[in-house]
Symmetry: D2
Subunit: 404 residues, 4 copies
C-alpha cells in the first residue's frame, strides 16, 4: 500500500477498495465498446452500471446523503476520483463526471430553489446531463475582457447571442450554463459577465457540430460541441447568482474542478504505469529476457512513480486547503497543481506508449485515448503557461509587499 495512504482512515479505505473492485470488474471491460466504439450504443450497458452503483451505495460520492450521495469531503472524494480516473468511463458511471459535477456544485450553492428543483435534482439523480458554455473560438480564454457573447435583459427575459465552443458534452444535454456579458460597460472587466441557465430545447440554441478532437468527432457525453446562441430567450430567473457575478462564480467553480481533474489525471497515470509494468514484464526481447530488465524502461517507471507520488501529495494538500481556507486562499496552489500534474500526466502517458512499441499507438490499449484527449490537459482551464505566470507573480509579490 502506498505511503501516502497513511492519511486514509479505515472507513475510507474500505470504500476505496469497493470503487476499485467495481472499476476492475465492471467498467474496464466496457472500455473498448464504449470508448473506442459508440458511446451512445453502449448507453444501456452504462446505465445498467449506474443502477448497480446506486444499489451498492457508491453513486454520486460527492453529494450529501440527503441528495442521494455519500457525503464525502473534497479530500476524501479526491481519493475516490483518483481511482475512477483509471478509466475514461469511471466518473460517468458514478455521476460525478465533469462538467456535470461542476454544475452541481455551482447550482447547489448559487441557484434558486426553483432552478434546483427543476434542473439540479434530476441532474443529481443522473436522469439528465448538462454542459457549460464559456470558451469562445474567437478569443483567448484567459482574458475576460474578450468575451463576446451577450445576454440582454428585455422584460423578464434574457436574450442571448454568441458563439461558443468546447462546450463539452452538449450533445444530449438537457441544459447548459452559459457565460455571457450582461454589463459591457462595467469598468471592472471581471464584473461584466453573468452565468445563465439555458434549457437546450430552445429555438435560439443551435449545436453547430461536435468538434473533431484528435481524430474523434465523439458523441453524447463524450463530445465537445461548437454551439450558437441566436436571439436565444430564457426567463430572467434563470440567472445563477447575481448579475455580473459570472467570473466570481467561475473562480469558485475552478478550485474544486482543478482537484477533480488533477486526481483524475493521477488515476490515469496509475493505469498507465500499471500497463507499462505489465508490458515490460511480458514483452521479451529474447526468450527469458523481458523488457523490464532494460535500464531505460526502469528509469521511465521510476520517474513516473516518483512523479505520481509527488503529484498526489500536492493535490491532496491543495484540496485540504480549499476545504479549510477556501478556494481563494488556495489560488497559487491551484495554479501549481494545474501545470505540475499535467506535465507528469503527459510524460507518463508518453513513456507508457513507448514501452508498448507499435501496440502503444494502436487503439488496442486505452493509452491512445488519453494520449490524444488529455493533450488538452495542458490547455483547458487556462494553459500551463498562464498558471506558471500566476504562481511566479504571486511569489514575487511577497517581496514587493515587504519592501524587499
Amino acid at each position: 500500500m502506498d505511503f501516502s495512504t497513511i492519511q486514509i482512515n479505515e472507513k475510507l479505505g474500505v470504500l476505496l477498495t469497493k470503487y476499485d473492485d467495481f472499476l476492475n470488474e465492471h467498467i474496464i471491460p466496457l472500455e473498448q465498446e464504449a470508448v473506442y466504439g459508440s458511446f451512445k450504443a453502449a448507453l444501456p450497458k452504462l446505465n445498467a452500471l449506474r443502477d448497480l452503483a446506486k444499489k451498492e451505495g457508491l453513486f454520486a460520492p460527492h453529494l450529501s446523503i440527503n441528495d442521494g450521495g455519500i457525503g464525502l469531503s473534497l479530500t476524501d472524494f479526491a481519493r475516490v476520483s483518483e481511482i475512477l480516473g483509471k478509466s475514461p468511463l469511471g466518473h460517468f458511471i458514478f455521476n460525478c463526471q465533469a462538467p456535470d459535477i461542476g454544475n452541481m456544485e455551482l447550482m447547489h450553492q448559487f441557484a434558486s430553489k426553483e432552478l434546483q428543483e427543476k434542473y439540479l435534482n434530476p441532474l443529481q439523480r443522473g436522469e439528465i446531463r448538462s454542459c457549460f458554455a464559456m470558451t469562445e473560438p474567437q478569443h483567448a480564454g484567459s482574458n475576460p475582457k474578450h468575451l463576446s457573447t451577450t445576454a440582454v435583459r428585455v422584460g423578464d427575459e434574457y436574450i442571448i447571442n454568441g458563439h461558443k465552443w468546447f462546450t463539452s458534452s452538449a450533445d444530449g444535454a438537457a441544459f447548459t450554463i452559459v457565460m455571457a456579458v450582461t454589463d459591457s460597460e462595467n469598468p471592472n472587466p471581471y464584473q461584466r459577465a453573468s452565468m445563465i441557465l439555458v434549457p437546450l430545447e430552445n429555438p435560439g440554441y443551435r449545436l453547430v457540430r461536435n468538434i473533431p478532437i484528435m481524430g474523434d468527432v465523439g458523441e453524447d457525453y463524450m463530445s465537445h460541441a461548437e454551439v450558437k446562441f441566436e436571439d436565444c430567450k430564457v426567463p430572467a430567473s434563470n440567472l445563477i447568482g447575481k448579475e455580473g457575478g459570472g467570473f466570481a462564480l467561475a473562480q469558485e467553480r475552478l478550485g474544486p474542478g482543478r482537484i477533480h481533474h488533477c486526481m483524475r489525471w493521477i488515476g490515469i497515470c496509475e493505469r498507465a504505469i500499471d500497463l507499462m509494468c505489465r508490458r515490460a514484464l511480458s514483452r521479451e526481447l529474447d526468450p527469458g529476457r523481458p523488457l523490464s530488465g532494460q535500464q531505460t524502461i526502469q528509469n521511465w517507471i521510476a520517474e513516473a512513480v516518483a512523479g505520481v507520488k509527488a503529484a498526489r501529495m500536492l493535490v491532496l494538500m491543495t484540496a485540504h486547503r480549499i476545504e479549510n481556507e477556501g478556494a481563494k486562499a488556495a489560488k497559487t496552489d491551484i495554479s501549481t497543481i494545474k501545470f505540475f500534474v499535467s506535465d507528469i500526466l503527459m510524460n507518463t502517458l508518453d513513456k507508457a506508449i513507448q514501452t508498448h512499441g507499435a501496440l502503444g499507438i494502436t487503439d488496442d490499449t486505452i493509452l491512445s485515448f488519453w494520449y490524444r484527449h488529455e493533450r488538452g490537459a495542458r490547455i483547458y482551464d487556462g494553459p500551463d503557461e498562464v498558471h506558471k505566470s500566476v504562481l511566479a507573480r504571486e511569489t514575487l509579490k511577497k517581496y514587493v509587499q515587504t519592501g524587499n
Copy 2:
C-alpha cells in the same frame, strides 16, 4: 533563404520552388477532405493531381528518367522530400510515398526482370500500390531471431504461413513483399529469412483488419493492416534476391528509407513552425497584444527553428555519405538521425499545438493528424532506444579496437 541552401545549385532550386508551389496550390487545399475525410472518396481528385504532376514533369522524382522520373540523387531527392513532407498527401501525389518507394528501390536492384516487368513497372507508373509485411505482433521487431512467419519451399512454390501487422497501406495494394523464415536452422539468425513477393489476390492471404491507430481506422493508402498468410502459395520465382538474404535486403532498404522519413519529418516541422508563427502573430491576448510577444512562445519558435536547421544538416550529410560510401558505412549516422530527428519532430509538433490552444487539439488544423500518426516515428524502424544503443556501442567499439 535558409543558410543551408548554399548547397543547392540553381537547377535544383528552380525545381524545389515548383514542388513548393504545387504543394501550396493543389495539395494543401485537399487536406481536410482527403486526410480527415475519406481518402478513398478523395481518390479521383488525388489521381487528377497525379496526372497534373506527370504533366508538369514532377512525378516520381526519385526514379530515373528512363523509368518516368526525374533522376534525382538521394541528396537532391531529400530536398524534395522535405517540401513534400509539409502535407501528409505530398509524397503520395508524386508516387514517392512509403512503403512503395522502398519497394521500388528494392525491386529495382534485386528483383528478377520478370518481377520487374509484372510488378515494378506498373508500380512506378502509379497504376498499382504495394505494401511490405515484416513486423509481427508477437515479437519485438528489433530481434531477427523472433520472426515466426515461415515460407516453405515445396516444388516450385513457397507456402507461406504467418501473422503480420503494421503492414502499411495493405488495403487496396496489389502485392506485398513479405519477410519470412526460409531456413530456420541457419546458425546465423540474420541469414534465416527471405523476402518474397506475394500478389494479394491470393486465397491464402487475408487482411484481418485495418488497425485503429490513434483514433483512425484509416483506409486504402492511409491505413496499417493486420494480415495473415495461411498456406499462401506463390511461385518460387517470386523470391527477391537470394534465399536467406532477407535481413541484408532489409538493411539496404532501411538506409535510404531513413533519409526519406527524416526529410519528411523535417517538412512536417517546417509546416508546424509555419502554423505556429501565423497563430502567434494573429492570436491576441489583448487587442494589439499578439501571442508572438510572449517570451515562452518565442523560446518555442527559436528552439524549433534551431532544431530543424541542425536536423536538416545531419540528414543531408547522412544522405551524402550513403551515396558516396554506401548504407553500411553510414550505419551509425543512420541510427543517429533516427532518434535525433524524431525527437525534434515530436517537440515541434507539441509546441505548435500548445501555441494554438484549444484549436490545436481539434482536427481543424493538420497538427492533430501528425501529433497522432507521427507518434510512431519514435517507434517504427526500430525504437529510438535501440538506435541510441547502436550509436553508443559503435562509439565505444573504437576504444576497444585500438586497445586503448
Copy 3:
C-alpha cells in the same frame, strides 16, 4: 505562509521562526568569510555562534533533552533542517551536520557504553568532530562485494588496511568510523563488513590529501579527504554493533541521513529561489523594466516553487514513514526522494544562476558554492541511476509476486 505548514503545530512554528531569525541575523553574514574564505580562520566566530545557539536553547535539535538537545522527532527536525539548509554553515552551527549527525545516531543505538562515553558524548557537545570512511577510490560504491579495506582480528585488536576517499571532514576530526571487511569468506556479501571506530591520533592512519573538489581543496569541516589505513591498530572493543553487521548499520544510517540531506537540499532551493526573486526584481533591462517581467524568468520561478513544494511533501511523508514503520519499510520512498529532490535542487540552482547573469558564476553570491558542491548530490549515497533502478524493480516486483 506555505500551504504545507498546515502540519506544523504552534510550538514547532515558534521554534522554526527562531532558527530562521538566527540564520538570517548571525549565520548568513558570515558566509563570505567562512565559506569562500578560510573556514579554519573563521572557527572562532563560528564557535561563538555555537555558544550562542546553546544559550538560546537551539543547539543540537536532533538530540534528546538528556543529551543536551531539543528532542525533536525526525519529522520535526526535518523542518528545522530545511531552514538550516539555507546556508552551508547552518547545520554546523547547531551541531547537526553530516557526517557527525549520522555518527551520533549510529553510536547512540549501537555503540558500547564505553565508546559512547569516550567519543559520543564530546561529539554531542560539539567538542570534537568525526568522520565516516566508507567509499573507496577503486570500486563502485554501489556494490558491497567490491570493498577492499580489511580489518583482521589479532588478539584483542583489529589491524586495518585500506584506502578510502570522500571521507568528509576528516581534516581535524578526532575519530572516524571505518567500514572494513572482517569476514571475506562469508557467502552473503552483505555480511562481510563491519564498522569500527578509529581514533585518528594513530600511527597507522594517514590523511593523504584533502581532495580538490570543484576547485576547492577545502579545510577542516569543509573538506573531503583521501585517507589510508596501514596496519592501523585499534582495540577490538571499538567495533560498533556486531561483526559482519556493517551493511545493516549502513542501511540504518542511510534512512534518516537521506531525510537530512533532502531537507537541506530543499533549504538550498528556498535560498536560491529567494536570490532569484530578488535579482529578478532589482535587475533592470531598461529603466523601469525589471527582469521579473520576463516570462522565461517567471517560468523558472514557478517551476522551482512547484518542485520545492512537491519535494517537501515527499520528504516529510518519508520521514513520517521512517518514524512509524522503520527505514526498511520506507526503502523505496527513500530511493524516491534521493533522485527526485536532487534533480529539483540542481535545476533550481541552475536557473537561479542564469537569472543572475555574469554575477551568477562569481563567488559574490552563495550560488556558486552550491552549484559546485551539490553537484555531488546526484552521486553520493548512491547515484540517482541506482535509486531509479531500485524503485523500478520494487514496483515491478509487486506484479511478479501477485502472479500478475
Copy 4:
C-alpha cells in the same frame, strides 16, 4: 573517421592531425599543473610550447602568412579550434585565444597603422597579451543604452571614467580595448559608444580584483578582472575605427568570436565524450561487468555524440556563411549556434561527470574545470534567452514583411 570530415581536403587533414598530436603529446600533460595549479608558475613551460609551436609551423593559424600565421580561412580555422578546444590550454599555446584573437581581428581591420605597429604586431607575435573591457557590473549587457563608462574628448586626449568587470585576462595584459560612451546624446543608442585602446601602464587604470569565478580567483591569462578607469587619459589617436562606431565594431567582433567559442565548446564535448567512454569501459560494477553495458550510460553517450555532430555542422555552416556573406547576413545563424551549442556543451559535461561518479566532481579530471568555467557559456556574449528571442523575432518578421 567522422562523417562531417567529408568537407576536409587532404592538406587540412594533415594539419589537423599535427595539432591533435601536439595537443595530446605536449599540452594535455601540462593541464594539472597549469590549469589546476598556478598558471603563472607554469608560464615558462607554456612559453616553451609556444616556441615549439612556432618551430613546427603551427603558431597563430588564424593569421596570414605575412603576419606569422598559417592563413587559414574562418572555416578551416574552426576545424583547428575544435581540436584545440580539447584542452583549456589549447588556444593559448597557439596564440589564438580569446580575447586576444578578437582584438587581433578587430585591430587588423580597424586600427590605425600606428596602433597596429605599436600594439598589434607584438600581440600577434605572442609577446604581449591584451583584454577587452565592455561588460559593466551595474547594467544588463544586452542593452546598449545602459553603458555608463564615458570617454570625454579633451584636446587630443580622451579622459575615461567607468567601472567594468569580466574583463578577461586583464591580469598581466599590456593593453585593453574599452567600450565607452563618447556621444551620450546621440538619438540612436547604438551610435553612442566608441572603442578606445588603453595601455594598462596608466595611472588612471586600476585592476580592482580578479573576480573569484566558481571557486577560482585565477591569475594572469586565466582570470576575469574587475577594473576601474578613473580620469584615465589616452591619446585621441587610440580610437579604433570611428567615434560612435563601438557597437558596429562589437557586432563585427562577435560573429567570428561566436565561431571560435562554439568550435572550442565542441572540442570540449569531444574530450568529455572521450573521458566518458574510457571511464565507462574501465569502471566495473562487478568484475567483468563494466559501466559501459548500462543502457543509461549508452543513452548519454549516444545523445552527446549526436548533439556534437549536429552542433559541428551548424557551426561550420555559419562560418561558411560569415565568410561568404558577412556577419550581418549570418546574424540569426550566429544567435542559433550560441544557444544550441552551449546547451549541448553543458549537457555533455554533466553526463560525463555523472559517468565518473565521485571522481567526476574532483579536480582529478579536467571535467570539473569546464563544468565550472563553461557555465558562463550560457551567459557571456548575451544570455541564451536573448539569442532565442532574436531568432524568434527574425523568424516572425518574415511573416509580417510578406503580409502574412
